[in-house]
């Protein structure tokens, strides 16, 4: 039972991060019908911005501000930095190709992905960066928390899971309860009709990139609090975020959340009960299975073309 609880906790932690990344894919796809393959690298940049902010604030061992404020500031720095990066990517890599065949922005997205990864490697080196969260508050994040049976739920995991869920709920409220959210939904439903109704499409698209990239920045920090980051990490994590988005139904916000969690649990339980060798294989087998048997994902709607 302890193993089950621990693996559930592992899956929930990992899945929360995947869900935040998947939301970025879904937001952009929902509005632009574009698979933004640079999104994983925005996540990576977020983790680097967070690392820079952490160092600027004194580092893990000697932070200049209280622990809670440090975590908030580091996450905010990554979110703001990534939001700006998202706007720049949209402006320079996607907007000029908005009316081009669909393959063009896809290739551009791959180009941006490589550009970001290798730029970061060139600027900061290819070595891994460790937030050393273990040193934060002299191990408070790892050793305080509460127990479920014999399983300790450390504060760091609580922070990651709660922060991810708070961000998801805020996004949900923003999309469903605000004016800009309504504009996003309208644009997603029919871009041309929305434009005719007076919605500023450019503004909506930029806003989607701001939101998606900010979430990727937050995910980058939450991820890097538990594992070292590097310039090339974005590709594989991005691919998993994309898989989560496909499982949930790309374009669907609840779908992205569910997909992320399903993927996190699948990975954790495969590693725990079957073999760590099989986890990536299973993840991508799930992707293929969904593409074959339920391409619209769990929460997506099938594309119906009038014939």
């Amino acid at each position: 039972m302890d193993t089950f609880i621990q693996l559930t906790l592992n899956g929930l932690t990992l899945g929360s991060v995947y869900a935040l990344i998947a939301l970025g894919y879904s937001l952009v796809y929902g509005i632009l019908k574009l698979l933004n393959f640079a999104h994983g690298d925005v996540f990576m940049v977020g983790s680097f911005i967070g690392y820079g902010a952490l160092q600027a604030l004194g580092g893990s061992a000697n932070p200049k501000v209280p622990l809670w404020l440090l975590l908030v500031l580091v996450t905010l720095a990554a979110m703001v930095g990534c939001a700006i990066l998202g706007v720049a990517i949209e402006r320079f890599a996607y907007r000029p190709l908005r009316n081009a065949p669909r393959i063009a922005p896809l290739i551009s997205a791959l180009g941006v992905s490589f550009f970001l990864a290798y730029s970061v490697q060139l600027l900061f080196g290819a070595e891994q960066r460790d937030y050393d969260a273990f040193a934060l508050g002299e191990g408070t994040l790892f050793f305080s928390g509460f127990d479920i049976g014999n399983v300790r739920v450390p504060l760091l995991r609580i922070i990651i899971i709660v922060a991810a869920f708070v961000l998801m709920v805020l996004l949900w409220l923003l999309v469903t309860k605000t004016r800009i959210g309504k504009a996003m939904r309208a644009t997603s439903h029919d871009r041309e009709a929305a434009a005719m109704m007076g919605i500023n499409i450019d503004r909506v698209i930029v806003f989607a990139f701001v939101l998606g990239s900010a979430l990727a920045g937050a995910a980058g920090v939450l991820f890097a609090l538990r594992a070292p980051t590097s310039a090339t990490i974005g590709f594989i994590i991005g691919l998993k975020g994309f898989t989560a988005a496909v499982i949930g139904g790309i374009g669907s916000i609840p779908g992205a959340m569910a997909g992320g969690l399903i993927l996190g649990f699948a990975e954790a339980f495969t590693q725990g009960y079957i073999s760590t060798r099989w986890s990536d294989l299973l993840v991508f087998a799930i992707l293929i299975a969904f593409m074959l048997f339920r391409p619209q994902g769990l929460f997506g709607r099938p594309d119906i073309n009038k014939v």
Partner: protein, 395 residues
């Protein structure tokens, strides 16, 4: 029909001519590469190591010692040597090492290579160096199959000045059995040759001694080890974790603590980095001891510290000094044989194996084994990480 046959013949002749034309410059390069080089001219030694990337720390340590060795030993051997460097970030696979090998093979003034530093890079380039007769002497590539076994991955032009995993795996396992008195050990490999070889070697020793071994395997790209940690039994004393990324060893150790496991991490030479793997109580093995323990190294270390005041003495650098010493010694011998010229770079290769170094930087005297291009009587050293993060020699 006739026209078609004629066309085919013309095509074949054209293809043959084209192939000959393409082949000519290559033959010329090869001949150029074998032109005699005067020993009075400036000769080049190339250092091939990861200067950037996750293993950049070891490359930079090697560079500082290689520079120092060249500076210090030029007078001793009466040579003018210029050290050139090639960066092979481990994250980029064998491609950078292959490109560098082509470059150094084509440059006739490069008479020896120090490195490649990693086993994968050696396996990917040794044939290229061998064909050009270029000695490549690694201070850190430890994969057993480079020099041993029925199918060797490296050629006769490859040498290493440190022992291989055939020593490291069993000596780590022996330490676990004899000093740590383990009864249950978890061994993790990363599905790549370095860790699989090392894990296999340790596993067979432990099993032979009756230790319960639980073998796990994960991708080299894994960053969150929590589910792997969940599988570590509470009564396991050691997790043997032969990663090449010291940060991963640190993360794994932290996640063990997070889940309340008592097992200690035991890393191989790939995780030997006091800056990055610093979890107190953990173990790490390496091919080099603390060289300050040998009195005859005192002046040598003092000189290196003068040149590198901000660097601390660690394990990856000193063997590089030894590798440069072996290379320069062999170059000098080749110059003597060629009466002031290196007529063929193979002359350097032929002489490497004959080198004997008294008061070797890593202790004792150095010579190569007569059977393989490995050092004779090499051994591995085991350190335990102390509460202040320092590495203490324990075995």
């Amino acid at each position: 029909m006739k026209r078609a046959i004629m066309l085919a013949l013309v095509s074949v002749v054209a293809a043959v001519l084209a192939a000959t034309a393409v082949a000519r410059p290559a033959a010329k390069v090869s001949a150029d590469a074998q032109q005699a080089v005067s020993c009075k001219s400036t000769l080049k030694i190339a250092l091939v190591t990861p200067l950037t990337g996750g293993a950049g720390f070891l490359g930079n340590a090697q560079l500082s010692w290689a520079k120092y060795a060249v500076k210090r030993l030029q007078k001793t051997y009466g040579l003018r040597i210029r050290l050139v460097t090639g960066d092979t970030p481990v994250e980029q696979g064998p491609a950078p090492a292959q490109a560098l090998a082509q470059k150094y093979v084509a440059d006739k003034s490069v008479v020896a290579v120090i490195g490649p530093a990693t086993s994968g890079a050696v396996a990917a380039t040794s044939r290229t160096y061998f064909q050009a007769g270029l000695a490549h002497i690694s201070p850190s590539a430890t994969r057993t199959s480079l020099t041993q076994g029925t199918v060797k991955e490296a050629t006769q032009a490859f040498f290493r000045v440190v022992g291989g995993d055939y020593i490291q795996g069993p000596s780590d396992a022996k330490f676990m059995v004899e000093k740590l008195k383990v009864s249950k050990v978890v061994i993790i490999d990363f599905q790549e040759p370095y860790s699989v070889g090392l894990a296999d070697a340790a596993q067979s020793f432990l099993k032979a001694k009756g230790v319960t071994v639980i073998r796990e395997s994960t991708s080299v790209k894994t960053t969150d080890f929590s589910s792997l940690v969940t599988k570590v039994p509470n009564d396991a004393q050691i997790v043997f974790f032969p990663t090449q990324q010291p940060e991963d060893a640190q993360t794994f150790g932290q996640q063990l603590l997070e889940q309340g496991k008592r097992a200690k991490v035991f890393g191989g030479d790939g995780s030997n980095s006091p800056d990055k793997f610093k979890l107190p109580g953990s173990y790490v093995s390496n091919f080099a001891p603390d060289i300050s323990g040998f009195a005859y190294n005192k002046a040598l270390i003092a000189g290196w510290k003068r040149d590198n005041p901000k660097s601390s003495l660690e394990s990856f650098g000193p063997p590089t000094y030894g590798a440069v010493q072996v290379a320069m010694n062999a170059i000098k011998r080749a110059c003597n044989v060629g009466k002031g010229q290196i007529k063929d770079r193979r002359d350097v290769v032929r002489n490497v194996k004959r080198i004997v170094v008294k008061n070797w930087i890593l202790g004792g005297d150095f010579r190569f084994s007569t059977r393989t291009n490995d050092p004779l009587n090499a051994r591995f050293y085991i350190f335990q990480i102390q509460s202040n993060g320092s590495y203490k020699l324990v075995g």
